[in-house]
């Protein structure tokens, strides 16, 4: 079997690591660790942007990597940590044990989701000289695992982190298939993420103030 080449291999490995971190977030019980994993995942996105920038000669992407790094590796985790941890460093109740499935079943279910995402994106046959097909398929798997994370965990912290990592998955997809997307638009997307973070933060704080917990198990009043 032919070798995929160093550049593709590197991009694919970074993508695979991001997917593994996604699984880590699914598995982690503590918010602190989840946020750490999210920061690591975001850092990988920046690294990937730099790799692509160097290989494809797209200087725009250096700026994007810097911007995305500042925002997603520094600002967002900082906000989340400030928001979700209590001041004395103890874990806010409601996150650990918010599983609807047992951890092992959750991981197995997520493997199933990842397989679905991987092969459905992989079978599209979207590839071009610029796009390593495997990285795109991994982004597809990540999208599904992020959805899984939002579904199996019943707490606002995991759900918010699930959403942010969903955004990472989409960033990965956009780096792979749309590396040439004008910097202006990419920046606008990032700005929008920031906006979403602020809103999530406000709602999480409201929820926390109201129920003294991050669990969403009691959000069952509205039905029908």
């Amino acid at each position: 079997m032919s070798s995929p080449g160093v550049y593709d291999g590197a991009a694919d490995v970074i993508a695979a690591l991001m997917l593994l971190l996604e699984f880590g977030m699914l598995r982690q019980a503590l918010v602190r660790d989840q946020v750490r994993l999210y920061a690591a995942q975001s850092a990988l996105i920046s690294v990937l942007a730099i790799v692509i920038a160097a290989d494809r000669n797209l200087p725009d992407l250096y700026a994007l990597a810097a911007l995305s790094g500042t925002l997603k590796v520094v600002v967002v985790p900082l906000v989340l940590r400030r928001l979700l941890g209590s001041p004395d460093g103890e874990e806010t109740p409601g996150v650990a044990g918010s599983y609807t499935l047992s951890p092992a079943s959750a991981v197995l279910a997520a493997i199933g989701l990842a397989a679905f995402g991987f092969f459905s994106f992989g079978s599209l046959g979207i590839s071009s000289p610029e796009a390593p097909a495997t990285a795109l398929a991994i982004a597809g798997a990540m999208v599904f695992v992020a959805f899984g994370l939002m579904i199996v965990r019943r707490d606002v912290a995991s759900q918010a982190i699930g959403f942010f990592s969903l955004e990472n998955a989409i960033s990965l997809a956009s780096l792979v298939v749309a590396a040439g997307l004008p910097l202006l638009l990419e920046t606008a997307f990032l700005f929008d993420l920031l906006l979403a973070v602020v809103v999530f933060a406000m709602l999480i704080r409201a929820h926390h103030a109201r129920s003294e917990s991050l669990s969403t198990a009691d959000l069952t009043k509205l039905r029908g």
Binding site: M1, S3, P4, G5, V6, D8, G9, A10, D12, V13, A15, A16, L19, L20, F23, R27, P103, A104, V107, L108, I111, A114, A115, F118, F119, G122, P132, A133, T134, A137, I138, A141
Partner: protein
């Protein structure tokens, strides 16, 4: 340095290297571990002395144990000594007996050894030995699929299931080294090796707490030369697994590509260096993590499974 080593001798050297170096590797790991903890630690040669001491001791068997109890250590060591014939230990080219079995054949031999030890432990009626073997079998049932998926990855990468070919593919280009399938399979294999050799985070290798034991507990009732065989077998298994990891997956460089004496000697040196390097990594892990609770080991195994499955996934699209 132009003297050519005859092929049968190289074949013999493979087995001899593994057989003789294996206790030394255990000694090195124990030494490094001790140093990391700030102790002086035992001598590197300590395992050899231990074996020698055991061989000299008298041997007892529990009442009611059959011939199988005493035959098991012999079978296990025989199996372990056969495996080095199948894998690239010293050479890049396949040796005649290398085609006795493929990567699955090696796996079967490892399982056979593990099975006879467990079965012998059942003979004894000792609760700890039985506990150890039942645990060992439980976890190997979980790691089996991981190993299978690693094998699938190898098969998909090379189109065969021969370890020599896998090593050759990895050597062929940098692109092969960095592809996710290769890295993920290597990582999964490494996790399985930690589990199989009874290392942290699965088991305290040097512990005396019977409740946490898995591999160690199985040899409780053996004594004298038979216990020496079992110990040696465990060390052989560790060395073989490290060799597979290093020479087939991670760093298949430094192997002899000719029959020249110099190359073969260099290959032996390289092999020992690689095994010690892997051992150092294992020692560092041993010192930096806590032992997992027993029922968390399934999660550890499922993480390894995840790596292996993702490896096959990425392989499937060809690009990975």
């Amino acid at each position: 340095m132009s003297a050519a080593v005859p092929i049968p001798l190289i074949q013999l050297l493979q087995v001899l290297t593994v057989a003789l170096a294996a206790p030394g590797l255990t000694g090195v790991i124990a030494k490094v571990e001790a140093r990391l903890q700030g102790r002086r630690g035992p001598r590197v040669l300590q395992p050899y002395y231990d074996l020698a001491k055991l061989v000299r001791k008298e041997s007892l068997a529990p009442e009611g144990a059959s011939w199988f109890f005493l035959a098991a250590p012999l079978v296990a060591v025989a199996a372990y000594l056969t495996i080095p014939l199948l894998i690239p230990v010293l050479t890049t080219y396949g040796l005649p007996l290398g085609y006795l079995g493929d990567i699955l054949g090696g796996g079967f031999l490892l399982s056979l050894a593990s099975f006879v030890i467990a079965a012998a432990a059942l003979e004894t009626g000792s609760p700890y030995a039985q506990l150890g073997s039942s645990r060992a079998k439980t976890f190997s049932a979980i790691t089996e699929p991981v190993v299978l998926f690693v094998v699938f990855t190898v098969a998909l990468l090379t189109g065969t299931d021969l370890p020599y070919h896998m090593a050759a593919v990895v050597r062929s280009s940098a692109g092969q080294v960095i592809r996710p399938a290769h890295l993920l399979a290597s990582a999964a294999l490494f996790m399985v090796i930690l589990l199989e050799t009874g290392r942290i985070p699965v088991e305290t290798h040097t512990g005396t707490n019977e409740f946490g034991m898995i591999e160690e507990a199985r040899s409780f009732e053996h004594s004298g030369p038979y216990l020496a065989l079992l110990r040696w077998g465990g060390e052989l298994k560790q060395f073989i697994l490290f060799t597979i990891l290093a020479d087939v997956f991670v760093v298949p460089w430094g192997l002899a590509s000719t029959q020249r004496l110099g190359d073969v000697v260099l290959a032996i040196a390289a092999l020992l260096a690689k095994a010690v390097a892997v051992g150092c990594v294992v020692a560092v892990i041993d010192d930096s993590f806590a032992k997992l609770r027993l029922f968390k080991i399934t999660e550890y195994a499922s993480a390894a499974f995840l790596l292996a499955v993702l490896g096959v996934f990425t392989m499937y699209l060809g690009g990975g």
